[in-house]
Structures are given as C-alpha cells and as structure tokens.
Point group: C2
Chain length 235, copies 2
C-alpha cells in the first residue's frame, strides 16, 4: 500500500489536490490509476484511507475516506549531529525519522567541514522515511546552527546525551529518568578540546560510550537512537 505525505489538513470527504511532484510519484513512479487505494498522512491528523479520483500527468485529485490511524507522536527525543558527506548525512536523517526522533538538528562544530546544508532536501528525506516506515509523524529538520549557539539556548529540562568517541570502552547503560532528551553525535574527527571541556561542564549533559570500536558518525547515530528508544523510548 502506497503511503503519501501531504502538507495540508486531512478531513474525510474533503478532496486533496496533488502537486506536480506528488502526481509524478503516484502515477509515474508507483503507477497508480483512478480508483486505486492509498494511505495519506500529514504529520498532524493521523492516517487516512484515500483513492485516486483523477490521475493527470502533472496533477491529480484524491478522494479522502475515513481516518485509519490516529497520530502517533514519537517520544520527545532530538538528534543533534554534525553534517558529514552527503550520502551519510542523508542516511542519518532517514534513520532518525525511522527510529522515531521527534526533531533533527544539524549542528556546526569546530571540526565540521560543511558550512551549509540543503535543509529542504533533508526534510524531504525525513518525509520519505516516514512514508516508508508507516509513521504518522514527520520529524522537523532544523536549519544548521553552531553547536555553541544551540548550547547557549539549551532548555534546562532537556537532557543532552553526548556520545563521546574518545570514551571508547565499556558502554554505559542508558538509564532513566525518562523525559525530554537529545542525542549529540560528533563529526568524523570528533569534537575539539574546547567543545569537550564545555560539554563536560554543562549540568544537562550526560556522556556515554558506544562500545569498544570507534563508530562512524552515521553508525553512532543509529546505535544511540536505538539504545535510547529501547531503554527509555517507545520500543
């Protein structure tokens, strides 16, 4: 069953007009025809049954039926990561959406090479991952910000789990308390001494190790999200 994300309110009996990209995806790529069924979600209202009412080359219309699933919010977990090479950055965003991060924040660290990201492209990856994994929520991908700025404005009630690649060794279990949290993954090359000193001194930071091998940034992101979800999240 094809699942499509649309950025508009979803109400039974209220038709949905398709953009050119959506029409191309549904009718060109997925080969749906008039009368075919699909599922719709918008990240806010849950999932709805729908059928193709009109299939055009550059547009189309969907008939919206009953709501089939309520909105399921993921736990209040953010992922902060330093953008790396394009394919691995895309991968991190896809995996964060699949693994149920609520918000994805690219951060620029002292050793981050890229000074800009294509936020819209990364957001599209998060949408596609949500379409694939059956989720009804799409995490927001924030604009790239300096790590220092993010830490200056940090909400005191959110724990920041710092995955420190310099602490290679026995992994600490991710224990409670449950509640607002964020995972911080460094770039290839790790964090600078200044960053490490600042992180160590912050009261909301908890430092953890991810085992005896040095994980690539994308592996570390998936591993940390998995451990958190299994121990404190919705797994």
């Amino acid at each position: 069953m094809v699942r499509l994300y649309v950025d508009q309110p979803l109400v039974p009996e209220q038709p949905v007009s398709l953009t050119r990209d959506q029409a191309h995806y549904l009718f060109g790529v997925m080969r749906l025809k008039a009368g075919d069924a699909l599922a719709l979600f918008n990240g806010r209202d849950g999932e709805f049954a729908a059928t193709v009412a009109r299939a055009g080359k550059k547009d189309g219309e969907l008939a919206v039926g009953a709501r089939t699933k309520p909105l399921q919010m993921p736990p209040d977990l953010w992922l902060l990561f330093a953008p790396i090479k394009k394919a691995r950055t895309d991968f991190i965003v896809e995996k964060a959406a699949e693994l149920g991060a609520a918000r994805i924040l690219p951060v620029q660290t002292d050793f981050t090479n890229s000074e800009r990201i294509r936020r819209d492209r990364l957001q599209a990856h998060a949408v596609e991952a949500a379409e694939q994994c059956g989720g009804t929520y799409v995490p927001e991908v924030a604009e790239l910000e300096k790590l220092g700025t993010v830490l200056d404005d940090w909400p005191a009630d959110r724990r920041l789990i710092f995955c420190d690649e310099a602490q290679v060794g026995a992994a600490d279990p991710l224990q409670g308390p449950r509640g607002k949290a964020a995972i911080l993954i460094g770039p290839e090359g790790g964090f600078s001494e200044a960053e490490r000193a600042r992180l160590a001194a912050l009261p909301f930071v908890r430092t953890i190790s991810l085992g005896p091998r040095i994980l690539r940034a994308d592996t570390a992101a998936v591993a940390a999200l998995t451990l958190w979800q299994a121990a404190l999240g919705d797994w």
Copy 2:
C-alpha cells in the same frame, strides 16, 4: 593515523611488500611518503606499528615494528541478511563490521531479489570498515546461500534471533543467555508465510520485535546488532 589491513603474517622486523592497490591507497590517496608511520593488522595477529620503507607508484615496502595491540575478537555473533539494493547491502556489511559481528552471511530468501552477490566486494567493505573503526579483526563475508540450506545445517548450540517485521510493537528486551548467536534480518517485503512457519517451529529461534515502526532492512540490522552488543556482547 592510517590503518592498513594486509592478508599476510605480521612479525616485527619482517618487511611487508605492498600490492598495487595497497600502494595506490597509501601513496596515491593517503599521500604517505617514505618514513611515514602507519598501523598494520591482518585480522589474526593484532596491530603493529609500521613505517613506509619504500613508496613506489605501483608497489612499495613497509618496515614492521612492535605489536601495539593484541588481536581483539568480537563476540561470537553472526549476521544473516537478505541482500537488497547495492548501496544498502554495502552499508549493512560496513555496519556489521563496525558493530562487531564475527561473521556475515548473505542469505537468499523467498522474497530476495538478487540471486548473486559480489562476495569479494562485500569482503573489501568489511576490511575498510575494520581499518576505519580501529578493529583488529575482520568478519568473514560468506557466499550467498539459500536460507533453507543455512537452516538445514544450523548448529544447534547457536541461538538465531529472528527480527520479525510483522511483530511491530513493543520491543522485547534481548535477554540472556550469552553465548553463540546470530541475527536474521529479512529483505524489504519480509519473509514468506512458509519461511515464517519454519522459523517459528525451530527450537533455536527466538523472535523479537524492533519497535513500533517498520524499519528498513539496513536500519533493522544496525538496531539489532546494537541491542545485542549492548545487552549480551562486548559494549
């Protein structure tokens, strides 16, 4: 520090001759010159300090110094997975090596599309991952085999952890006993009814869920390896 895997015995004071590919990597890509230091490992004898004795365009020689790390075997954990699209298959092998799988077995299931794999290319990915992550061991990538054949010959003392995407929901904690284990990840599209029935009936199989979202095969592989390593492995 550059780390190089070589497929030959490593003994202090016994020089190592480089293949054309190795010479290209060290001198062309990593720009090492005569006298530069690097680390060597062969998956059997640990890690050794080395220096470039001669750097040629198509060959070269390394001087081998003292052993700097003993061989560190990962836990006796296998990963069985159904090959998927090329980039994601490469990714699974890379991540399995990083996360400390001891052996990687591509299996052909009823819904597997690819009927062959490039075993040598996948093995090269495992080597590269070991070079990157500081490991001294390289997991063997086995030839593609039918899942049924693998199950026919299954060693009774190895637990098979079947990550069942049809069991979306609360994840089961990975509890003991420690000991020989293998993780089985299905292809996109999951397992056939016949496969599921057979797996359910086998005494060495333990079925687990990986949370409330349907994970892609590559995400599921990383998540399951992470959970096993954290609960029962060497993290």
